[in-house]
Amino acid sequence: MTRVYVSKDMAAVALGADAVVEALSNAGAHVVRTGSRGLFRLEPLVEVETPGGRVGFGPVAAADAALVLDGSHPARLGDVSAMPFFARQQRFTFARCGVIDPLSLDAYEAHGGWRGLTAARALPQQAAIDAVKASGLRGRGGAGFPTGIKWQTVHDAPGPLKYVVCNADEGDSGTFADRMLMEGDPFCLIEGMAIAGHAVGAERGYIYIRSEYPFAIRTMREAIARAAPIVAPFVLEVRVGAGAYVCGEETALLDSIEGKRGEVRAKPPLPAIAGLFGRPTVINNVLSLAAVPFILSEGGEAYAAIGFGRSRGTMPVQLAGNVRNGGLFEVGFGITLGELVMDIGGGTDSGRPVKAVQVGGPLGAYFPPSMFDLPFDYEAFAAAGGLIGHAGITVFDDTVDMAHMARFAMEFCAHESCGKCTPCRIGSTRGVELIDRLVAGERRAADAVERLPQMRNADGGARPAGQEIELLRDLCDTMKFGSLCALGGFTPYPVLSALDHFPQDFGADAPTSSAAAE
C-alpha cells in the first residue's frame, strides 16, 4: 500500500485537503496526516513515499488522486525540501513541522524530540537558564525582551508556587506561525514549556489559545494528554480565549485565565514577580518556548551563531496578504525586507506592483518598497519607526488606499480596546473621525463649546487639513506615550507610517513628510 503524506493544517483544510485525503484513501493509499510545510501555494500538497524519498505534488484536487498515485500528475514537485523556498531556510524551530505526524510520540522522538528536555533535566536550574541566556533568545511575541533574563527573574522570585504560561493568542493579522507550530509540532511547544518549568521551578503550565484556532486547540489538548507521562510532574492545560484581541497582551491574558475581563494591568509589578494568581510567572510566546528545545539540545552557542546584531538565532517569518509565495520562512535575522518580499515571496499574487508592506501585525508600521533594504532586526526596525512584532509581513499591491488602512488601524483599536485607559479607548474613536474628515475633505466647524464666549483661545473657524493632520499627529503622540499597553501605544505606528510614506492618499493638503508638520 502506498504511503502518502497530506497536511491537516487548518490552511490546507481550508483549501480542500480533507476531500483529497478521502479520494486518496478510496484509491487505496495509506494517508498520514502531517502539519503544513508552510508554502500555501502548494496546498493541498501530497507527498508520496517512494524508495528514493518523498515525492511531492501540489496543489492537488480530489479528482486527481489517481494521477498522484501513479506519478503522472502534472504538478510534480519532486523532493519538496529541495525546493528553493525550503532549501534557503534555517529551520531550527520548524524542523519537524510538515514532515511528521504531529501526534506521534514515536515520530517526535525519532526526529530529535525530548533531547532538549533530557539535557535540561540533567542540568541544575541555573545552568539551563544560562543556556537560554547564551542563546541570545529574545521574546518572539514582539517585545523582544531577553527570555533568559525573564526566566532568571522568575527563578529568583521567592515562593513555592510558580507558573509557566504560553501566550498562543496569535491575533495579529498576517501571522500564523504559532498556529502552524501547535498544529504541526505540538510536542515541541510542550517540551519547551517543560524545560521552562524545570528551569524556574514551576510545576504547572497554561497554554492560552485563541478561539479562532479550533484545530490548534484540538491538537494541543490531544498532544498534552499523550505527553503527560513524559513531562510529569509538570502539568499542562489549554485555556481557550473568547475573541478578544487585547488578551494577546500578557497581563490581559493572565486576567483572562483568572476568569476576569481581559483588561490590561498596570506594570509594575511584572508578571515575573506577580503574574498568574499573583505568583511569579514565566509568560512567553509560542515561538520563544518552541525555540528552547533546540537551544538545550544543541547548545545556546549554536543558536546564537546565526543572526544579526543583538537579534540572535532564527525568526519564523510569515509572508502574508497579497504575496505569491505566502507562507512560513524560518531564517536567521539580518535578511532584508526586500529579499523576503520580492525574492522569497515573489512579489504580489495579483502581479501588480507592491505599494506597501505592513510588518508586525495590525500594530506594525507600513513600509514602502523604497525601504526594502532594511535588515530584519529588532533594532533596525525600531530605528526606522516600526517593529518586527511577531514577524508577520502583509503585502499590499498598488490598489490599496493607505488612508483607508490608517483608518482601519484606528477602527480596529476602537473595536478591540479593553477600555481601561483613556488614550486607547477614546483616542481610537477620535482617530477614526479625524481620518474620515481628512479623507472626505470636510472642514470641521467649531462646535458649541468652542463657540462659547469664554473660549477666547479657540479660533472658532473651520480647521484646514494641515491643522487636522497636526491634530492627528498629536493624538498619535498621546496614544503612543499615554496608553497602558501596546494596543493603544502601537496603533500610531500604522497610522503615522501611512501618513509619512503615503501622504498623497490623505488628500492634496497633506504634508509630504513628517518634518513638514513638526
Binding site: 490552511a11 481550508a14 483549501l15 475573541g243 476568569g259 502583509t394 478591540e416
Partner: protein, 169 residues
C-alpha cells in the same frame, strides 16, 4: 433582547433558569468552582445552548461564588459570548489586513448583499448569523471565512454562491 424576553412567560423563564442551574452544577463538577472556571464554563454553556442567556448569570455567579456583576462584565467583554440566540448557521468572514490585501472588502459587500444582513446580524428566519472575525491565521490564502466549523480560503464570487447555497437548512 427585549423581544425574546417579552415572548417568554414567567413560568417559562423559571423552567429555563432551572435547566441552566442544573447544567451549571454539572459543569462545576467537571471544571471546578473557582473564578478561573468562568471562561471554560461560559464556553461550555455556549456550546450547549448557543449563547449566554441573561438567565444563566445568577446560576453561574452563585456556583463560582462571584457577583452577578462580575459574570455580566465578563460575558459582555468577550466577543465570543453572544447574549441572543444565534442562527442555525454561522458565517464568519475575516476583515483583517491580510484578507483585505486579497480583496476581502469586495467579498464582504457581496455577502452583505446575498445574505441581506450586515455583520453582527441574524436573519429573521433564524437561518444564519453573519459575523466579522479578525484573523483566522490563514493569511496567505485569503479572503477567508469560517462557515460553521469549516474553514474556507480563497473565497471568490463563485465559491461564495456555492457556500451560501449550502446553508439552506
Amino acid at each position: 433582547m427585549s423581544a425574546t424576553r417579552n415572548d417568554r412567560s414567567i413560568a417559562g423563564d423559571a423552567t429555563h433558569a432551572n435547566d441552566y442551574a442544573a447544567t451549571v452544577a454539572r459543569l462545576v463538577e467537571d471544571i471546578g468552582g473557582e473564578q478561573d472556571a468562568l471562561l471554560p464554563m461560559l464556553h461550555a454553556l455556549r456550546d450547549e445552548f448557543g449563547y449566554i442567556d441573561d438567565l444563566m448569570v445568577p446560576a453561574i455567579a452563585s456556583a463560582l461564588n462571584i457577583s452577578r456583576a462580575d459574570v455580566h462584565g465578563v460575558v459582555t467583554f468577550y466577543h465570543d459570548f453572544r447574549r441572543e440566540p444565534p442562527g442555525r448557521h454561522r458565517v464568519r468572514l475575516c476583515r483583517a489586513e491580510s484578507c483585505q490585501a486579497r480583496g476581502a472588502a469586495a467579498i464582504e459587500r457581496l455577502m452583505t448583499d446575498r445574505l441581506g444582513l450586515r455583520m453582527g446580524e441574524t436573519s429573521a428566519d433564524g437561518r444564519v448569523t453573519f459575523d466579522a472575525v479578525y484573523c483566522l491565521g490563514l493569511c496567505a490564502t485569503g479572503p477567508n471565512a469560517m462557515i460553521d466549523d469549516i474553514p474556507v480560503s480563497r473565497i471568490d464570487p463563485a465559491t461564495l454562491d456555492r457556500l451560501l447555497g449550502e446553508l439552506t437548512r
